[in-house]
Amino acid sequence: MYVYSEFDNAFLAERNAQFRAQVERRVSGALTEDEFKPLRLMNGVYLQLHAYMLRVAIPYGTLNSAQMRKLAELADRWDKGYGHFTTRQNIQYNWPKLTDIPDMLDSLAEVGLHAIQTSGNTIRNVTADHFAGAAADEIADPRPVAELIRQWSTDHPEFQFLGRKFKIGVTGSANDRAVIKAHDIGLRILERDGETGFQVVIGGGLGRTPMIGKVLRDFLPRADLLPYLEAALSVYNLLGRRDNKYKARIKITVHEHGIDAIRDRVETLFERLRTTFVGLDQARLDDIEAAFAPPALRGASVAAFETACKTDPVFRSWADTNLAEHRDPDHAIVSISLKAHGATPGDASSEQMRVMADLAERFGYNELRISHEQNVILPHVHKSDLPALHAALKAAGLATANIGLISDIIACPGMDYCALATARSIPIAQEIATRFDELKIENDIGPLKIKISGCINACGHHHVGHIGILGLDRAGVENYQITLGGDATQDAVIGERAGPGFSADEIVPAIERLVQAYLDLRTEPAETFLQTYRRTGLAPFKSALYPEARAHAA
């Protein structure tokens, strides 16, 4: 994987020195709080409910073992011994002191990590498919392109004070695991007539006005990526609304002007910008690509794996849910669930981080990934190593076999941490996971994605959950609205609102009624919740959710 060059390291050192000075200038009064705010935000520092929060980027979700150990070290030295992996492939520390943050950033820089542009009205940390470089269905590894975009967008002089934040996601597979249609710009690598390029999708986003992105360009040749992105960003910077923060995202700009008008502007500016790139970017991309060359996968018998599948039902159950198909049939992609029943989704203790770093070193060619679904991935594990890996994970409490199941819930931090939240998310996720674990029907239910947001900003992606839960504040009382039928994949759909919300006490029983309705409605066990929902529509689920309404109608 890509290792920071001398230039990258010098840049980080300079940037960290600047931030250290900015903190000092804030203290001295040279910077007002208003002026300091965007500067700290573009360095990943938020002010939350109880404390500052530092959001560290995990660019395109890729880490090596040393970097993972560094994340553990930060948790121990400057925080409370844990970190929270987010839906945008970042990790958040919830309890740092502002005056410690410059030291934390210097420490991160030792392993090529940073918190640059993880917040603020700039181009955010670029995200990618968490199975990148390993997935069997991949056309090309999206990480080299994501790294090129990281370099281009980092400290880009035009785009540090945009009207609003700007998120870019990249996938190299037709099966979208990076939710690119819910990004300001989503890129899908594809091939046409032997040439590699991108489908460019623009104006997607969740939040208070959820929208699925629209196709801006069907096929953009690979070499044109940066001038095209630059044109799109420049058009947005000048055209996007600045009178109302809730209408400032590019999805609103696209909606108000129409995709065709936006396309005309982008294409015109693109033609002009194209001449300013003369190939240095492509040479750099070639170097980056070489750095991302796949590891030399070892060959060995997979008999140990096959035996364990037959003889160890606990291993078998974990293998059935937590493994994904690797492009090499003798290897597997391993998902480590950070969703133990009753735990906080996405949280990992420093001890768990160190265990995962060690295991990546021992079994996984020194590579780890963080998924937007808040789990950790070992992208390359030889199948013969899986039994030993599973045993080690089990010993560390990391062998929960629930990837893609009802307890593998995405949840934002909610009112337990976040200053914007209107309701708690974490306890709801914990209660749902615990309840379905007690019922022992999780495997029978099969693939089902529940996503929970603690406010309308939708960090928990509730709009694209098969079951989405949105926590609101109704006259000082938490109220949870349900949306159904959302989909985060290449067939992205915004879920439909089911009806009136539920109190914190009522929401888990309501989810149970929904699931029971699904089990009754499905034609066969192989028909998933989403397939059933698409076949039947909202009505039968609605009557399961609101039995009293049904009684009154009768």
């Binding site: 370099q151 400290d155 004070f161 420049s234 240095l280």
Partner: protein, 134 residues
Amino acid sequence: MTTIVTDAGFAADDWNRGYAKPNAAANDALALHLEPDTDPDQVPLSPGLEMIRVNFPSFSDGRGFSIARQLRLRGFAGRLRACGHVLADQYAMARRSGFDEVEIDDDLAARQPEDQWLARANWRDHDYQSRLRG
């Protein structure tokens, strides 16, 4: 009074020939003053135009950076000035976007003295953009 910031530090304003608005008979203007809602494509770039000044009503409004960039792309080679609420922290961004200088008022110059601007006079260093372009 205002202060002009360049890579050399603070100086007094040496431009005393005024500014025209880009619409009103600006075809033969010596200097133009632009607000951030200006479409840079519509700015008349006449041969006699020596100076363009772009206003930053608030430091958090970054439209001026794109305006500068697009004016340069259109071929404007004269003096390009950012004025208003621009922070020392934004000096490198202004220079990299194509501005030559920044005009700030006395309050800001007092609160963010010359050394804080000079600290960013090395804007050519550590620049990802220059590594990706010709």
